[in-house]
Amino acid sequence: TQLLEQSPQFLSIQEGENLTVYCNSSSVFSSLQWYRQEPGEGPVLLVTVVTGGEVKKLKRLTFQFGDARKDSSLHITAAQTGDTGLYLCAGGQWGNAGNMLTFGGGTRLMVKP
Protein backbone atom coordinates (compact mmCIF):
# COMPACT_ATOMS: atom_id res chain seq x y z
CA THR A 1 0.00 0.00 0.00
CA GLN A 2 1.36 3.38 -0.98
CA LEU A 3 1.23 6.10 1.67
CA LEU A 4 1.70 9.82 1.26
CA GLU A 5 2.28 11.76 4.46
CA GLN A 6 1.40 15.42 4.31
CA SER A 7 2.49 17.96 6.89
CA PRO A 8 1.52 20.03 8.67
CA GLN A 9 -2.14 19.05 9.05
CA PHE A 10 -3.16 22.54 10.12
CA LEU A 11 -1.48 25.87 9.63
CA SER A 12 -2.66 29.26 10.79
CA ILE A 13 -0.56 32.24 9.79
CA GLN A 14 -0.78 36.00 9.36
CA GLU A 15 -1.13 37.59 5.96
CA GLY A 16 2.28 38.28 4.44
CA GLU A 17 4.04 35.31 6.03
CA ASN A 18 5.68 32.51 4.07
CA LEU A 19 4.87 28.82 4.50
CA THR A 20 5.85 25.41 3.20
CA VAL A 21 3.75 22.25 3.01
CA TYR A 22 5.44 18.89 2.62
CA CYS A 23 4.41 15.55 1.13
CA ASN A 24 6.61 12.54 1.78
CA SER A 25 6.46 8.90 0.81
CA SER A 26 8.65 5.83 0.68
CA SER A 27 7.09 5.04 -2.72
CA VAL A 28 8.06 6.41 -6.09
CA PHE A 29 5.34 8.19 -8.01
CA SER A 30 5.08 8.85 -11.72
CA SER A 31 3.62 12.25 -11.04
CA LEU A 32 2.65 14.47 -8.14
CA GLN A 33 -0.38 16.67 -8.23
CA TRP A 34 -1.30 19.52 -5.90
CA TYR A 35 -4.90 20.56 -5.44
CA ARG A 36 -6.61 23.32 -3.50
CA GLN A 37 -10.10 22.74 -2.20
CA GLU A 38 -12.52 25.26 -0.75
CA PRO A 39 -15.44 24.25 1.50
CA GLY A 40 -18.29 22.72 -0.48
CA GLU A 41 -16.30 22.54 -3.71
CA GLY A 42 -14.27 19.90 -5.51
CA PRO A 43 -10.46 19.95 -5.56
CA VAL A 44 -9.04 22.33 -8.13
CA LEU A 45 -5.77 21.34 -9.76
CA LEU A 46 -2.89 23.72 -9.07
CA VAL A 47 -0.03 21.88 -10.74
CA THR A 48 1.27 18.50 -11.91
CA VAL A 49 4.98 17.70 -11.63
CA VAL A 50 6.37 14.65 -13.38
CA THR A 51 10.18 14.93 -13.50
CA GLY A 52 12.45 14.33 -10.52
CA GLY A 53 13.87 17.66 -9.34
CA GLU A 54 11.26 19.63 -11.26
CA VAL A 55 10.30 23.06 -9.93
CA LYS A 56 7.18 24.86 -11.08
CA LYS A 57 6.03 28.33 -10.13
CA LEU A 58 2.49 29.64 -10.11
CA LYS A 59 2.65 33.30 -9.08
CA ARG A 60 3.46 33.18 -5.34
CA LEU A 61 3.34 29.35 -5.22
CA THR A 62 6.45 27.26 -5.84
CA PHE A 63 6.16 23.49 -6.25
CA GLN A 64 9.06 21.08 -6.15
CA PHE A 65 9.23 17.37 -6.93
CA GLY A 66 12.01 15.49 -5.18
CA ASP A 67 14.87 14.07 -7.21
CA ALA A 68 13.76 10.52 -6.39
CA ARG A 69 10.09 11.33 -7.07
CA LYS A 70 9.13 10.30 -3.53
CA ASP A 71 8.43 13.71 -2.04
CA SER A 72 7.20 17.16 -2.92
CA SER A 73 6.80 20.58 -1.36
CA LEU A 74 4.59 23.58 -1.86
CA HIS A 75 5.95 26.96 -0.80
CA ILE A 76 3.74 30.04 -0.63
CA THR A 77 5.38 33.43 -0.47
CA ALA A 78 3.62 36.37 1.19
CA ALA A 79 0.42 34.49 1.92
CA GLN A 80 -2.89 36.24 1.33
CA THR A 81 -6.30 35.64 2.90
CA GLY A 82 -7.43 34.24 -0.44
CA ASP A 83 -4.94 31.38 -0.04
CA THR A 84 -7.05 29.95 2.77
CA GLY A 85 -8.23 26.44 1.99
CA LEU A 86 -7.42 22.74 2.06
CA TYR A 87 -4.29 21.81 0.14
CA LEU A 88 -4.05 18.23 -1.06
CA CYS A 89 -1.08 16.48 -2.59
CA ALA A 90 -1.69 13.32 -4.60
CA GLY A 91 0.83 10.90 -6.05
CA GLY A 92 -0.04 9.37 -9.39
CA GLN A 93 0.70 5.91 -10.69
CA TRP A 94 -0.43 4.63 -14.04
CA GLY A 95 -1.60 1.06 -13.96
CA ASN A 96 -3.55 -1.28 -16.18
CA ALA A 97 -6.78 0.18 -14.86
CA GLY A 98 -5.94 3.83 -15.28
CA ASN A 99 -4.24 6.65 -13.44
CA MET A 100 -4.57 6.00 -9.71
CA LEU A 101 -3.98 8.69 -7.12
CA THR A 102 -2.76 8.29 -3.56
CA PHE A 103 -3.83 11.32 -1.56
CA GLY A 104 -2.03 12.90 1.34
CA GLY A 105 -4.10 13.72 4.40
CA GLY A 106 -4.37 17.40 3.45
CA THR A 107 -3.16 20.65 4.99
CA ARG A 108 -5.80 23.05 6.16
CA LEU A 109 -4.40 26.56 5.79
CA MET A 110 -5.89 29.63 7.37
CA VAL A 111 -4.43 33.01 6.53
CA LYS A 112 -5.55 35.72 8.89
CA PRO A 113 -5.67 39.40 7.92
Binding site: S30, G92, A97, F103
Partner: protein, 115 residues
Protein backbone atom coordinates in the same frame (compact mmCIF):
# COMPACT_ATOMS: atom_id res chain seq x y z
CA UNK B 1 -15.21 25.34 -21.38
CA UNK B 2 -14.44 21.67 -21.16
CA UNK B 3 -15.22 20.47 -17.67
CA UNK B 4 -16.55 17.89 -15.26
CA UNK B 5 -20.13 18.55 -14.20
CA UNK B 6 -21.92 17.04 -11.24
CA UNK B 7 -25.64 17.12 -10.55
CA UNK B 8 -27.18 17.87 -8.24
CA UNK B 9 -24.78 19.96 -6.17
CA UNK B 10 -26.77 19.22 -3.04
CA UNK B 11 -28.88 16.11 -2.45
CA UNK B 12 -31.01 15.31 0.57
CA UNK B 13 -32.39 11.81 0.98
CA UNK B 14 -34.00 9.76 3.70
CA UNK B 15 -32.41 6.85 5.47
CA UNK B 16 -32.77 3.80 3.21
CA UNK B 17 -34.15 5.70 0.21
CA UNK B 18 -32.15 5.03 -2.97
CA UNK B 19 -30.36 7.97 -4.50
CA UNK B 20 -28.47 8.54 -7.76
CA UNK B 21 -25.74 11.08 -8.31
CA UNK B 22 -24.75 12.14 -11.80
CA UNK B 23 -21.47 13.11 -13.44
CA UNK B 24 -20.82 14.24 -16.98
CA UNK B 25 -17.69 15.38 -18.74
CA UNK B 26 -16.85 17.24 -21.91
CA UNK B 27 -13.14 16.37 -21.76
CA UNK B 28 -13.61 13.11 -23.68
CA UNK B 29 -11.51 11.33 -21.06
CA UNK B 30 -11.82 7.58 -21.01
CA UNK B 31 -11.29 7.10 -17.26
CA UNK B 32 -13.88 8.27 -14.72
CA UNK B 33 -13.66 7.99 -10.93
CA UNK B 34 -15.98 8.32 -7.96
CA UNK B 35 -14.62 9.44 -4.61
CA UNK B 36 -16.22 9.87 -1.21
CA UNK B 37 -14.92 12.71 0.94
CA UNK B 38 -15.94 13.21 4.54
CA UNK B 39 -15.33 16.37 6.48
CA UNK B 40 -11.66 17.37 6.85
CA UNK B 41 -10.50 14.16 5.16
CA UNK B 42 -8.84 13.41 1.85
CA UNK B 43 -11.00 11.92 -0.92
CA UNK B 44 -11.40 8.15 -0.78
CA UNK B 45 -11.68 6.25 -4.06
CA UNK B 46 -14.83 4.14 -4.35
CA UNK B 47 -14.43 2.80 -7.89
CA UNK B 48 -13.54 3.84 -11.39
CA UNK B 49 -14.24 3.03 -15.01
CA UNK B 50 -11.50 2.51 -17.54
CA UNK B 51 -13.60 2.86 -20.67
CA UNK B 52 -16.37 0.35 -19.97
CA UNK B 53 -14.34 -1.72 -17.55
CA UNK B 54 -15.52 -1.30 -13.98
CA UNK B 55 -12.92 -1.41 -11.18
CA UNK B 56 -14.17 -1.62 -7.63
CA UNK B 57 -12.02 -0.80 -4.60
CA UNK B 58 -11.83 -3.70 -2.17
CA UNK B 59 -13.33 -1.79 0.75
CA UNK B 60 -16.19 -0.11 -1.13
CA UNK B 61 -19.49 -1.27 0.42
CA UNK B 62 -21.92 -3.25 -1.75
CA UNK B 63 -24.42 -0.47 -1.10
CA UNK B 64 -22.57 1.61 -3.69
CA UNK B 65 -22.98 0.85 -7.38
CA UNK B 66 -22.03 2.66 -10.55
CA UNK B 67 -23.10 2.85 -14.17
CA UNK B 68 -21.39 4.33 -17.19
CA UNK B 69 -23.77 4.25 -20.15
CA UNK B 70 -21.37 6.16 -22.43
CA UNK B 71 -18.05 8.01 -22.39
CA UNK B 72 -19.58 11.25 -21.14
CA UNK B 73 -21.75 10.09 -18.27
CA UNK B 74 -21.21 8.17 -15.08
CA UNK B 75 -23.68 7.57 -12.24
CA UNK B 76 -23.25 6.68 -8.59
CA UNK B 77 -26.16 4.72 -7.10
CA UNK B 78 -26.52 4.35 -3.36
CA UNK B 79 -29.07 1.63 -2.86
CA UNK B 80 -29.90 2.12 0.81
CA UNK B 81 -28.19 5.20 2.22
CA UNK B 82 -27.24 5.15 5.85
CA UNK B 83 -26.36 8.06 8.09
CA UNK B 84 -22.69 7.20 7.62
CA UNK B 85 -22.98 7.77 3.87
CA UNK B 86 -23.49 11.49 4.31
CA UNK B 87 -20.49 13.04 2.60
CA UNK B 88 -19.26 14.96 -0.42
CA UNK B 89 -19.13 12.76 -3.51
CA UNK B 90 -16.58 13.74 -6.10
CA UNK B 91 -16.35 12.67 -9.71
CA UNK B 92 -13.05 12.91 -11.56
CA UNK B 93 -11.73 12.07 -15.02
CA UNK B 94 -8.37 11.39 -16.56
CA UNK B 95 -7.02 10.63 -19.99
CA UNK B 96 -5.46 7.40 -21.13
CA UNK B 97 -1.75 7.89 -21.57
CA UNK B 98 0.25 5.06 -23.00
CA UNK B 99 3.12 4.30 -20.66
CA UNK B 100 2.62 7.37 -18.53
CA UNK B 101 0.31 9.21 -16.20
CA UNK B 102 -2.12 12.01 -16.52
CA UNK B 103 -3.84 14.40 -14.23
CA UNK B 104 -7.23 13.77 -12.67
CA UNK B 105 -9.73 16.59 -13.05
CA UNK B 106 -12.44 16.90 -10.44
CA UNK B 107 -16.02 18.06 -10.59
CA UNK B 108 -17.48 20.43 -7.98
CA UNK B 109 -18.95 17.58 -5.98
CA UNK B 110 -22.38 16.62 -4.69
CA UNK B 111 -23.01 17.13 -0.98
CA UNK B 112 -25.26 14.28 0.21
CA UNK B 113 -27.30 14.64 3.38
CA UNK B 114 -29.08 11.61 4.84
CA UNK B 115 -31.97 12.32 7.21
Amino acid sequence: DAMVIQNPRYQVTQFGKPVTLSCSQTLNHNVMYWYQQKSSQAPKLLFHYYDKDFNNEADTPDNFQSRRPNTSFCFLDIRSPGLGDAAMYLCATSREWQGGTDTQYFGPGTRLTVL
